[in-house]
C-alpha cells in the first residue's frame, strides 16, 4: 500500500507565510530562554522566567 496515499501535501506557497511566522516563534523562545537582558526590558524578563529557564534545561548561571 502506498504510504499516505490519501493525504494531499500542502503546497509550498501555502506553507511559506507559516514558515515566516515560525521565525517569530523562535524569537519568543529566545526571549524565554536565552535573553540575558540584551532586550530593552533589562534583566526583568530574565529574572521572572529564570526558574523556567533552568528547568527547561537551558544553560544558565
Amino acid at each position: 500500500m502506498d504510504p499516505a496515499a490519501n493525504v494531499q501535501p500542502f503546497p509550498l506557497r501555502q506553507l511559506l507565510p507559516a514558515l515566516l511566522l515560525g521565525v517569530l516563534f523562535m524569537l519568543a523562545i529566545y526571549l524565554v530562554q536565552y535573553d540575558q537582558g540584551v532586550s530593552q526590558t533589562g534583566s526583568l524578563l530574565h529574572e521572572l522566567m529564570h526558574d523556567g529557564r533552568h528547568l527547561l534545561g537551558v544553560p544558565c548561571h
Partner: protein
C-alpha cells in the same frame, strides 16, 4: 488549512506548557530552592550572580515559572504545527495521529535528549557566569545539529522501499541519527562545572525533574495535537487521513 493547524498548535502548546509548568513546580521547584539556598550560604564567592539579590522576588519567580513554560509551550506548539503541516502527506506516516505523536517524539529526542546527554542542565549556583556564552553556543550547535540529524534520518527512512524487511527502516533511521548526532556530540568539547562539594543527589534530582518537564511538554503536545486533529477531521465529516472509517460517534 495551514492556519487552522497553527492555531491548534498554539492552543495545545499553551496547555502542554502549563502541564509542564505544574510538573516543574511540583518536582523541580524544591530542588531549585535547595540550590539557591546553597548559593546564598556560600555568598563568599563574589563572582556568582546571586538570585537572592534580584529585584524579582523568589515568589514572583515561582509564578514566572508558569509564564516561562506556557510561553515556551505556545512557541513550541506553533513551530510543531508548522512542521506538522510541512510534513503532512510527504513522509511515511499514514494518519494524523501517527504523524503528530511520532513528530513530537522525534523532536523530543533530537532537541531535548541529545543536548541533555552532552550538556545536562544544572540548577542555579552551578554554572560559571564567565562561560555562559560559550556554553550556550555549544548547546545550540548540538541542538541544531541533532535536529538536522533527525531530519536526515527521517529522509533515509522515507526513501526506503516499502517492501523492505520490517527492521530495515527503523535500523537505518536510528543508525543515521546515532552516527550523525553522536559524532557531533563527541566532537564538541565537554563542559563540567559542578563544584566538587556540590551535593550529588541534588544535581541528579534536578536533572531528572528538568528532563521530566520537557517530556511532559512534548508528550502533551504530540498527544493533544493528534487528538484535536483527528477529532476535527471527524467533525468535518471527512474520513481520517488513512481513509478508514471512524467509529460512529454517539
Amino acid at each position: 488549512m495551514v492556519w487552522t493547524l497553527v492555531r491548534r498548535g498554539l492552543v495545545v502548546g499553551a496547555i502542554a506548557g502549563l502541564l509542564a509548568g505544574v510538573f516543574a513546580f511540583v518536582f523541580g521547584e524544591p530542588r531549585v530552592q535547595d540550590a539557591i539556598d546553597i548559593e546564598n550560604a556560600a555568598s563568599a564567592h563574589a563572582s556568582l550572580a546571586h538570585v537572592g539579590d534580584w529585584v524579582v522576588s523568589r515568589d514572583e519567580q515561582r509564578g514566572g515559572l508558569f509564564l516561562a513554560t506556557a510561553l515556551y509551550g505556545i512557541a513550541a506548539g506553533g513551530l510543531f504545527s508548522i512542521a506538522f503541516a510541512a510534513l503532512r502527506g510527504r513522509g511515511s506516516q499514514r494518519t494524523d495521529w501517527e504523524l503528530s505523536t511520532r513528530l513530537a517524539g522525534a523532536i523530543f529526542v533530537a532537541i531535548v535528549v541529545v543536548p541533555f546527554l552532552k550538556y545536562p542542565p544544572n540548577p542555579p549556583a552551578v554554572g560559571d557566569p564567565e562561560t555562559i556564552g560559550e556554553r550556550t553556543a555549544y548547546y545550540l550547535i548540538l541542538l541544531v545539529g541533532s535536529a538536522l540529524a533527525m531530519f536526515a534520518a527521517a529522509r533515509v527512512m522515507w526513501s526506503m522501499r516499502s517492501d523492505a524487511p520490517p527492521w530495515a527502516r527503523p535500523l537505518a533511521g536510528a543508525g543515521t541519527f546515532i552516527v550523525v548526532a553522536g559524532g557531533l556530540a563527541l566532537a564538541l568539547p565537554a563542559i563540567q562545572e559542578v563544584p566538587r562539594d556540590f551535593p550529588a543527589p541534588l544535581i541528579w534530582e534536578f536533572r531528572l525533574s528538568s528532563l521530566g518537564t520537557q517530556a511532559v511538554l512534548w508528550a502533551a503536545l504530540g498527544v493533544g495535537f493528534g487528538i484535536a486533529t483527528v477529532r476535527a477531521a471527524a467533525a468535518h465529516g471527512r474520513a481520517p487521513a488513512r481513509g478508514e472509517r471512524s467509529v460512529a460517534a454517539p
